[in-house]
């Protein structure tokens, strides 16, 4: 069997696979890229060819325009691509629409790069599929035992409770434009909220993308133009508005009725983080695995070796040491803590 390092190894550009001559989620333009999901720090424009799920390729086209790469190589979940003696398969990662784990097999050696993932049910994408392998390369965004995310349904209930308690205030929910925003909308619908949800313009094309892949978001409305308003109702008291976090603390938010700032993110577990972000209602809804999910996933897959890509690598490596597992932090650089848009 070849050494794992000969099949996948870290480089400053990203994880490199020599037999395929391809990089996973490269942070600079390369000839051949394998992209795990459509968040901007993993999926960049300008590669010659991109292999990804059809959903991810569609997301990249929405974000960067149709010319984001010369060649698109779609690979549906579970459908393998073989080059010489190396076989590559994308598996569901449960992170956002189209997100995938990368399984690489070569002469009996199996390696899996999880990409960003979570294990909680998400109504907008298929669940993470655990598959046995020799080397598991795991993300570690929330790899600290302080991160034990509450159930997303509980957090959505808190939003609806606040809405009932402050019917005079617009509830402005910050959520990353790709993935989190649509998940929050779906969670609201599942909780029985049928009112039209107001969405920021930056979300529109991505919402359409989800609808195209049969994720129904219910009635959505555009934010009214600030110049043509001035009736009481046009300031949207008691309504839910979803916007990318970058829009929250700008003049754009002035049009709403005494806006109450909420933010849906795994970081909201930590009070000081919420406070620093000026958030009044912290919703700990995460698209990444928390500590329990990360450690249980490693135990479940039970690889010979654990490699850790980006995030709180020290803590996951320590956990592995306590468990008597072989682990290696790769300290990859260039991926955001969570995806700013």
């Amino acid at each position: 069997m070849i050494r794992p390092e000969d099949l996948l190894h870290p480089t400053p550009v990203g994880l490199y696979c020599p037999p395929l001559d391809a990089y996973i989620d490269p942070v600079r333009s390369v000839d051949r890229a394998i992209v795990t999901h459509g968040h901007s720090d993993h999926a960049r424009a300008g590669h010659s060819s991109v292999l990804a799920t059809p959903e991810t390729l569609a997301a990249m086209a929405v974000r960067y325009g149709e010319g984001f790469a010369r060649v698109r190589q779609p690979a549906a979940y579970g459908q393998s691509v073989t080059l010489g003696e190396t076989r590559l398969t994308l598996l569901p990662a449960g992170h956002v629409l189209g997100s995938a784990q990368v399984l690489v097999e070569h002469k009996g050696l199996r390696m899996i790069c999880t990409g960003d993932y979570k294990r909680r049910p998400d109504p907008t994408c298929p669940p993470f599929e655990p598959v046995a392998c020799h080397v598991l390369i795991s993300e570690a965004t929330f790899a600290l035992p302080v991160f034990r995310h509450p159930e997303p349904e509980t957090e959505i209930r808190r939003l609806l409770t606040s809405l009932a308690g402050f019917p005079e205030r617009t509830h402005l929910v910050g959520a990353y434009a790709f993935g989190k925003a649509q998940r929050v909308i779906r969670l609201l619908r599942q909780a029985g909220y049928d009112e039209p949800i107001i969405v920021h313009g930056a979300l529109e094309s991505l919402n359409e993308l989800y609808e195209r892949f049969d994720v129904s978001l219910g009635p959505l409305e555009r934010v009214p133009d600030a110049r043509v308003r001035r009736s009481e109702a046009s300031t949207l008291p008691g309504r839910i508005v979803i916007a990318p976090p970058s829009a929250m603390r700008t003049r754009w938010a002035d049009r709403f009725a005494d806006p109450l700032f909420a933010f849906a993110s795994g970081w909201m577990t930590i009070r000081q983080r919420a406070r620093a972000a000026g958030v009044e209602l912290a919703l700990a809804i995460s698209d990444h695995a928390d500590w329990t999910e990360l450690t249980q996933t490693v135990s479940e897959i039970n690889p010979d070796e654990l490699w850790i890509t980006h995030g709180r690598d020290d803590a996951l490596a320590r956990w592995a040491e306590l468990e008597g597992r072989r682990a290696r932090p790769l300290r990859l650089i260039g991926y955001e803590e969570e995806h700013g848009d």
């Binding site: 035992p145 930590i270 000081q272 983080r273 620093a276 956990w319 306590l322 650089i333």
Partner: protein
């Protein structure tokens, strides 16, 4: 305990002061005695519990959590109470949750061993929020961004009395303040009136900007007929009061520091209340630099020998009461006349008078501000001759006009994740200057700062740290530096003095990042000698 926990959570996340006052008021109105009194004391910073040491909380945590995972978590979260509250392994249904009063009485009456045992039982029974509140409470300081003034404002809003009235009696009251609530709710007489030598809230100045007020330029406004000018001494704002043979010393926030300055408690001839700057006398009789004052202030008590070696004195600039008469409503001009008559009758080595500066207009005052005659002066104060002494920071009355800061270009050497608001991002930076070494120039660390950058800059600084880290020592990241490598920070500071405690032999006062020089090569940053040359000449000889 759960309602108190929810109160803290909401106070932490509510951005506006007004909103926080409203939330606290609603809590005080709907929570029975004595719980609400303990909560008020805790938020005002006046709840004295037998200090549960941070070490004890850590030890307790280490019985449940791997110490390495604990320290990585603590390093990341930046707040001990929050870290432990999130890490504590849940054991639901184990016990009944305690009330706030039970926690306070429990901690007050238990022996040290018993206290740790109780804490553990409570931690098992509470939710994340409850554990956070409990740990904040038992560590002594809440640090949730609510001040005493905010707490008292919320209490005042229960009734019709202005907050100043509560502030005046506050020092004579003790938690859980049932007498205070009874008075505020109109059920009893005003409590605590007979307490002598309490604290009176102080009057503060605005920073002078080129526009003093909208439409009024500083240069046009400075008229000696309208404003008195004094030096702004770099000491500690203090209030000294003697009433009915009780003498006390308070800081500007009302903290009682009587014990730290026994030499000021001698008979000095005062019957009244003065407002002034506490300074330490240097070897030549002149006021010593701020670091010396700080050393004294850090100690609760002090030996007579130490007090005699570095004696404190008060340079006073206002008189609030005299011989039982409240002078605060008088204009500054009249209070000043009272003060000038009083000071010569007091002990001269303990109390002296802050001199007025004579000036003709903005130009010569500006020159004086830039080139003050002594290093312990940090600028000038402007006070309207007709200003009454009003608690708080009233508009348009007093201004501080500080000397311009000194600047130096330094190289970022080490970084650490911040605590509190900035937890998570690298925001504590150690910077250094070039000095000659055996193998050519090397950097010597000269200071540390976590001020002076915007949230956007913080994101970029954080990325710089993550991308240039070459080594880690626990939480400290050591960065790649060299003539062509490293980030130059333009650091502003108020003063520099010699220090035997720092490796560079120099200590900077209030260093903060003035500008980030993304453009400047590290090799062009300043040398240590340049900083040493900025020590004021009067001090250069003394170490």
């Amino acid at each position: 305990m759960q309602t108190f926990a929810e109160l803290l959570d909401r106070l932490i996340l509510t951005p506006s002061r007004q909103g926080r006052v409203r939330i606290l008021r609603a809590y005080l109105a709907s929570t029975p005695d004595p719980d609400r009194g303990w909560a008020l004391a805790a938020i005002a910073g006046d709840l004295k519990l037998p200090g549960l040491q941070a070490g004890l909380i850590r030890t307790l945590a280490s019985t449940r959590i791997d110490p390495v995972l604990f320290s990585l978590s603590y390093d990341y979260v930046g707040d001990l109470a929050e870290t432990v509250s999130l890490l504590w392994p849940p054991r639901p249904g184990a016990n009944r949750t305690p009330t706030l009063s039970e926690v306070v009485t429990g901690l007050n009456t238990a022996s040290p061993d018993e206290r740790a045992r109780r804490l553990e039982i409570w931690l098992d029974s509470l939710s994340v929020s409850g554990r956070f509140a409990l740990l904040k409470l038992s560590s002594g300081r809440l640090r949730i961004g609510a001040s005493r003034r905010l707490a008292l404002q919320a209490a005042a809003d229960l009734g019709t009395h202005p907050v100043e009235e509560i502030e005046e009696i506050w020092h004579g009251l003790s938690p859980p303040y049932e007498d205070l609530f009874a008075w505020l709710e109109g059920r009893a007489q005003r409590p605590g009136e007979e307490t002598p030598a309490g604290f009176r809230p102080v009057m503060l100045a605005h920073a002078a900007a080129p526009e003093l007020e909208p439409g009024r330029r500083l240069a046009d406004a400075i008229d000696p007929e309208v404003y008195a000018a004094e030096w702004k001494w770099d000491g500690v704002r203090i209030q000294l009061v003697r009433e009915k043979d009780v003498q006390r010393l308070y800081t500007r926030t009302g903290e009682d520091v009587t014990g730290a300055f026994p030499e000021l408690m001698d008979e000095i001839g005062l019957t009244g209340r003065i407002d002034g700057e506490l300074l330490i006398r240097g070897p030549g009789g002149e006021p010593a630099p701020f670091a010396d004052v700080q050393k004294r202030l850090g100690r609760r008590t002090i030996s007579t020998r130490e007090a005699a070696r570095r004696p404190a004195f008060i340079r006073c600039y206002d008189l609030l009461e005299h011989d039982g008469q409240d002078l605060r409503t008088l204009p500054f001009r009249s209070r000043r006349e009272h003060l000038e008559r009083l000071v010569p009758t007091l002990r001269r080595d303990r109390i002296d008078l802050s001199q007025l500066i004579s000036f003709s207009g903005a130009a010569d005052l500006d020159a004086l501000r830039r080139q003050p005659p002594q290093p312990a002066i940090e600028g000038v104060m402007l006070k309207r001759w007709d200003s009454a002494y009003v608690a708080g920071r009233p508009m348009g009355q007093w201004f501080k006009w500080k000397r311009d800061p000194c600047l130096i270009d330094a190289v970022m050497m080490y970084a650490q994740r911040g605590h509190g608001r900035r937890s998570g991002a690298f925001s504590d930076f150690t910077f250094g200057l070039w000095t000659a070494g055996p193998e050519g120039d090397r950097l010597t660390p000269v200071g540390k700062t976590y001020f002076g950058f915007t949230d956007e800059e913080l994101v970029r600084l954080d990325r710089h740290v993550r991308e240039t880290t070459v080594e880690r020592f626990g939480p400290v990241h050591s960065l790649a530096t060299g003539p062509d490598q490293g980030l130059v920070l333009e650091v502003a500071f108020d003063a520099v003095q010699r220090s035997s405690r720092h490796r560079s032999g120099l200590a900077m006062r209030f260093p903060r990042i003035h500008r980030i020089r993304w453009d400047k090569p590290a090799g062009e940053a300043d040398r240590l000698e340049t900083l040493a040359a900025m020590i004021p000449a009067t001090e250069a000889g003394t170490v």
